[in-house]
């Protein structure tokens, strides 16, 4: 099982979802991807769309920089 990281805090719509989707598509069963993202649309939609596409959101935690969060997603 492998753990991957992705920082989309500097991205804007639609590349926030696009980059997440491309990274998620590389995961094998059991692998995790930790996405660092900002509040607002990315925080609302990345966990939701990941769940809708059959991934499991293990946790959502606040990151060190104010206004950013870490979303841990597993295939």
């Amino acid at each position: 099982m492998a753990n991957y990281n992705l920082d989309i805090t500097k991205e804007h719509c639609p590349m926030t979802f696009v980059k997440t989707k491309i990274e998620l598509s590389k995961l094998k069963s059991g692998d995790t991807l930790e996405v660092l993202l900002t509040e607002g649309e990315p925080l609302e939609n990345v966990p939701r769309s990941s769940t809708e596409q059959g991934f499991t959101v293990l946790s959502i935690t606040e990151a060190e920089v104010k206004g950013t969060h870490k979303v841990l997603i597993q295939k």
């Binding site: 500097k10 991205e11 804007h12 719509c13 639609p14 590349m15 979802f17 696009v18 997440t20 989707k21 491309i22 939609n45 769309s49 809708e52 596409q53």
Partner: protein
């Protein structure tokens, strides 16, 4: 004659876009919606017709693409993705350059990046048979990701049950 095998899955959310315009800003809208929707799990179908075909030509600059004299003239004047004008205040082609600069500066995906992302995400590209016939464009003039050349009836079948937008 369309050769695409049409698979309709009632459980998949679907967005179909008719790309009529070859304008820079409208192509940005097409590919922003397409990549965003594909990234959140939608099946996305892009149907390019008339000037929209300029956005999916292999030759992205001004080039005499097409069969016959008039199509070649159109090809030189209209060009492809790299020479797409903005729909308002184009200023002889200066504005698209300013837009590209602003998009890079503000870390927003450029038109070319959006097109590449659409390919990676498996967005379905289709081209309009009738418009290609008028403009003298062959399938070989278009990017290889174009799955098929279609007419209205086949496009409607593909788009059936989803959302469709004309841009």
């Amino acid at each position: 004659m369309a050769t695409t095998e049409i698979k309709l899955d009632p459980n998949t959310k679907k967005l179909s876009l008719i790309g009529f315009s070859g304008d820079f800003d409208k192509l940005v809208a097409v590919f922003t919606l397409a990549t965003g929707a594909a990234a959140v799990g939608y099946e996305v179908n892009l149907f390019f017709t008339f000037w929209g075909l300029d956005g999916i030509k292999i030759k992205q600059g001004r080039s005499p693409v097409g069969k016959g004299f008039l199509p070649k003239v159109f090809g030189v004047f209209m060009g492809g993705l790299k020479s797409a004008p903005v729909s308002r205040l184009n200023f002889g082609g200066i504005s698209p350059k300013i837009f590209r600069y602003l998009m890079r500066k503000n870390n927003v995906a450029t038109l070319e990046e959006l097109v590449e992302a659409a390919k990676v995400l498996g967005v379905n590209f289709y081209a309009c048979e009738m418009a290609m016939h008028i403009l003298g464009i062959q399938k070989s003039d278009l990017i290889p990701e174009v799955k098929d050349v279609l007419g209205v009836a086949t496009f409607l079948k593909i788009a059936d049950g989803g959302q469709t937008l004309f841009i």
